[in-house]
């Protein structure tokens, strides 16, 4: 066998990468292309057309669901970013404190907890509290889930920060709160922004938890899409999905630009 530098790409590496990415992207590309199909039959190509987009913009129920989803996503992402950032600061700067193990456990468990369990348990809480189900119950449920993702993203940024910077600020006479606001916060701002956007898209995406915690008459977009999809493929759904994909693409581009602009030093280690 020819001696090869041990760290070079082998043909096997290239092929597995190419196949992997094709597998991830082809279905989405096909879905987007067919949303511009003029034919009512989802599988027959009838030329390019925007009719399914027009159809969506005349579908009142769908539009209302979309509006509901956006409101929930905006409010819950903001709450989640606040709470998640606080949690990340406590975990990475608070050293050891009473209840730390429980605290970190409560923050990591929802990341993998099956959604049927989270959804059911929150619903039972809301019923016990006699809360009226609708916008606020879904928002609280989404905040609970997504603040954990924000905490992980922000915490990994805090962990990679050079702590001597904030220590220098305090040695020079800054109060801790001032040092945090003037030194730490600007440095972790890109991670906080990325956390907000992740929380926003996760909330926009969620079907299971929203199904449990919402009330009659306030369906979110995924709930509406799900009930349509169960009945089969419809070109209008392709159009809605394409719009969501486009929106998320914009969010991702903005997120990566923000983090590129403001994190010149050290690569972002946030895994999500």
């Amino acid at each position: 066998m020819m001696a090869r530098a041990p760290n070079k790409l082998s043909p096997f590496n290239v092929v597995s990468l190419a196949l992997g990415l094709a597998f991830l992207y082809l279905p989405i590309v096909i879905l987007v292309i067919y949303s511009f199909n003029a034919s009512r039959l989802v599988t027959v190509w009838g030329g390019w057309s925007l009719r399914w987009y027009t159809e969506f913009f005349h579908d009142r129920a769908m539009l209302e669901a979309a509006l509901m989803s956006f409101r929930v996503a905006a409010v819950s992402a903001t709450l989640a970013t606040l709470l998640g950032t606080l949690a990340a600061v406590a975990l990475s700067r608070g050293e050891r404190f009473k209840g730390r193990t429980l605290f970190s456990g409560m923050l990591y468990a929802p990341l993998v907890m099956p959604e049927v369990i989270t959804g059911l348990s929150l619903l039972l809480l809301f019923v016990a509290l006699n809360a009226e189900r609708g916008f606020w119950t879904v928002t609280i449920a989404h905040t609970t889930l997504t603040m954990c993702f924000v905490a992980v993203v922000v915490q990994s940024r805090l962990g990679s920060l050079d702590r001597s910077l904030e220590e220098a600020a305090m040695d020079l006479g800054c109060a801790p709160a001032r040092a945090f606001l003037a030194v730490t916060l600007p440095l972790i701002a890109p991670a906080i922004a990325a956390g907000w956007m992740l929380a926003f898209t996760l909330s926009l995406d969620d079907l299971v938890i929203a199904s449990f915690t919402t009330g009659p008459g306030s369906a979110t977009l995924p709930i509406r899409i799900y009930s349509e999809v169960r009945l089969g493929v419809k070109p209008e759904i392709n159009a809605i999905c394409t719009l969501i994909i486009g929106l998320i693409a914009v969010v991702i581009v903005v997120a990566s630009l923000v983090s590129k602009l403001s994190s010149s030093r050290g690569e972002s280690t946030a895994p999500l």
Binding site: P27, L91, R93, G99, Y226
Partner: protein, 304 residues
């Protein structure tokens, strides 16, 4: 007192709000699940008895406590429907996680060996589908797999089959959907570890006479085992409770526990049985969950 120490106290105060939030909306609700799993089904609003009414005082609570029973759990153990659902969930999760590992590892490995400036792009490309809606990605597959969808058209055009194959409502479609949806969860932890691996280790192995293949199995793979564990748990735990993918892609003759729970709750309105199903599911996941918790914690302590 050092500057570092001064910072810890306000940082701890920062924990209060998220702590209370998670306690109220994550921990306390499990108590309600447990309580209602011990209650009886009733045609009422809410659909279970006994209902605790704190206003009625201690005797009422005692009476309510006495009315709790293990009936729902007895039902879960004795009825084949539930036992089979749990078994199927565990099998499906184990099989899909194995497939994910076999597919995900080479992709992560390929990413880690890309030139530095391409690695960021590749990571972005893997993350983007994770941000795209779960539901949309499953729907994309329904488009392709349906009777006159893309896949059957290609197979027919290539004369690989003579009549359209039924793909939807089969286990193959479900596995495809699960692998597709969870692939980023497997790739990302693997990539993070493989990319950080010291190249000098492989050079040393090569200098000592290992072929690249031997070096991989003797050096790279053993060092990546913690990441393998993380990827496996990140996929296995949520797949056990998966609802959307089996509901939309698999057939209706056998259900995973997530579907059974959903059916009991939304269709049969049997909240106590659904709660009992959730309690048992949680109990099954306790070991993998605590492993995952320990792994996460160690990783973050390392990063600190």
């Amino acid at each position: 007192m050092s500057a570092r120490r001064i910072f810890t106290r306000p940082a701890r105060i920062a924990a209060i709000a998220p702590y209370l939030w998670m306690a109220l909306f994550f921990l306390v609700p499990f108590g309600f699940v447990l309580k209602i799993s011990l209650s009886q089904t009733a045609i009422a609003q809410p659909p279970y008895v006994p209902v605790f009414d704190l206003a009625q005082g201690l005797t009422a609570i005692k009476a309510a406590l006495a009315a709790l029973s293990l009936d729902n759990f007895r039902l879960l153990v004795s009825d084949n429907l539930y036992v089979l659902s749990y078994l199927r969930s565990l099998v499906v999760a184990a099989v899909s996680t194995s497939i994910l590992l076999v597919i995900g590892y080479p992709i992560a490995y390929g990413m880690a060996r890309l030139p530095q400036r391409w690695q960021g792009v590749a990571m972005m490309l893997v993350i983007v589908p994770f941000w795209t809606s779960f539901l949309i990605r499953i729907y994309a597959w329904i488009n392709i797999l349906q009777h006159d969808g893309m896949l059957n058209k290609i197979l027919l055009a290539l004369h690989l089959v003579s009549t359209p194959v039924v793909w939807l409502s089969t286990d193959s479609a479900m596995y495809l959907g699960i692998v597709y949806s969870y692939l980023p969860f497997m790739i990302l932890p693997l990539y993070a570890t493989l990319a950080k691996m010291e190249p000098a280790l492989l050079e040393a192995a090569s200098d000592l006479g290992s072929s690249p293949r031997q070096a991989f199995w003797l050096v790279t793979f053993p060092l990546s085992l913690p990441a393998v564990g993380a990827g496996v748990l990140l996929c296995f735990i949520p797949i056990v409770g998966e609802f959307v993918i089996p509901d939309l892609l698999a057939g209706s003759n056998s259900m995973m526990i997530g579907q059974t729970l959903w059916l009991e709750f939304f269709t049969n309105k049997d909240w106590p049985v659904a709660s009992a199903a959730a309690v048992v599911l949680l109990a099954l996941l306790l070991v993998p969950l605590s492993l995952y918790d320990r792994l996460q914690r160690r990783q973050l302590e390392d990063a600190r």
